[in-house]
């Protein structure tokens, strides 16, 4: 259980420090230890208290969970979801073998079907966070194929299809009791809350402090559930957007030079945010204004 991990770290620190004054100092240091479970609970309570009328699972609908008018517009297009073409294309791509005869399914558990809710995960062999997009390109490269751009339509189609096969399944992100995983999680939290760009915004500026408010006419989404509908068809983009594309765009919008797609920090923040959405249903691919 995760809560006992924080206690385990504290106990370990006490044991190492020995009894007496050193133990008190160690306890204080341990209080600074990374506690994803406590963070998770605080995060969840913040949004459910701030928006008591929003059913928990509805947070995955982002701005539509915040604004009734916007929701009506969204429901009006739901009969002909704009991402359907991406699912169809992704399904076809997924089934098409590589030049060497292998398929995407050979790289993934369950042949890649119905597994999206487990990403990102911490890979203890390589000591890094693996996102779905990264895993797909590594699969391609391992099978002699050139990687796809993380911000373009091929990656969006593949992830749209894989998300679709997991629709409705609760996110189930694991943070193992491994200092490297905890550090990656913490770096993700730091990335999320740190101000950046000439405009001095953090992700939290909009998505923690101002969910439901609007900048010009755009309604801001809550951070809870914000990755659940990825990849999204964005009307503003007239096309699909991957997780990578969204992070790059957000950086530019605050006048920060974006990192390379799938940079370690981008994967860490995706890890953090998806963990915070644990239990909420995969709802991708999604549509946004």
């Amino acid at each position: 259980m995760r809560i006992s991990r924080a206690i385990a770290i504290a106990v370990a620190a006490l044991v190492v420090a020995g009894a007496g004054p050193a133990a008190a100092a160690a306890a204080a240091a341990a209080a600074d230890s990374i506690d994803p479970d406590a963070d998770f609970k605080a995060f969840r309570d913040y949004y459910t208290k701030r928006f008591p009328d929003v059913p928990l699972n509805d947070f995955v609908n982002g701005p539509y969970s915040m604004d009734a008018e916007l929701r009506k517009q969204w429901e009006a297009i739901d009969d002909f979801p704009p991402y359907d073409f991406a699912i169809d294309r992704g399904k076809q791509m997924f089934a098409t073998p590589f030049k060497n005869g292998k398929t995407y399914g050979d790289c993934f558990p369950e042949k890649g079907i119905g597994i999206r809710q487990n990403y990102p995960y911490f890979d203890d062999k390589s000591g890094e966070v693996i996102t779905l997009e990264l895993a797909l390109n590594r699969c391609r490269e391992a099978n002699g194929e050139a990687p796809y751009s993380y911000v373009k339509d091929e990656m969006a189609s593949l992830t749209a299809y894989m998300a679709f096969t997991s629709r409705g399944k609760p996110f189930d992100i694991k943070i193992p009791n491994d200092p490297r995983a905890l550090e990656a999680y913490q770096k993700g939290a730091e990335y999320f809350y740190a101000r950046r760009g000439q405009l001095n915004f953090s992700c939290a500026s909009c998505h923690v402090q101002n969910p439901g408010n609007h900048i010009r006419t755009e309604v801001l989404a809550p951070a809870l559930g914000i990755v659940a509908a990825m990849p999204i068809y964005r009307s503003e983009w007239n096309g699909m957007g991957t997780m990578s594309r969204r992070l790059v765009t957000c950086n530019s919008q605050v006048r920060g030079v974006p990192l390379e797609p799938q940079d370690e920090l981008y994967r860490d923040v995706e890890y953090y945010l998806t963990y915070m959405s644990n239990g909420l249903p995969v709802s991708g691919p999604g549509a946004r204004p």
Partner: protein, 121 residues
């Protein structure tokens, strides 16, 4: 006497058009072209104030920040309003308002112009 009256009339004849011109100018300034600060405030690449603030004269404002109205009575001290635009994090470390001065988004001159404009709202 006559001269005096003529002088008085003369003065009136001189003054009247001047008064009229002043009155005309006064009336015209009510519909005068926007202050340079308004253009800066509404420009997305400059102040971009409407993104977060409702300001009279602007369309489709956001509501992240409070409406900017009644500015003369709310900010009698110009230095205070200027400081807010320059760097609101000094007053409120958790603010989402960009520090337009500290982060070199706007020049001192541009901030002055925007503050001038805000005092007309």
């Amino acid at each position: 006497m006559r001269g005096g009256r003529r002088t008085a009339h003369g003065t009136a004849l001189f003054v009247a058009p001047v008064l009229a011109a002043v009155a005309f100018a006064g009336a015209a300034s009510a519909q005068a072209p926007a202050l340079p600060g308004q253009a800066l405030a509404f420009d997305r690449s400059k102040g971009n104030c409407l993104t977060c603030h409702d300001i009279k004269g602007g369309d489709a404002p956001g509501n992240v920040g409070p409406p900017l109205a009644d500015m003369k009575s709310r900010f009698p001290d110009r230095k205070e309003l200027t400081a807010i635009v320059f760097d609101e994090t000094k007053r409120n470390p958790q603010t989402v308002m960009p520090p337009f001065g500290r982060n070199l988004i706007l020049t001192d001159g541009e901030i002055e112009a925007i503050v001038d404009f805000l005092y007309t709202r």
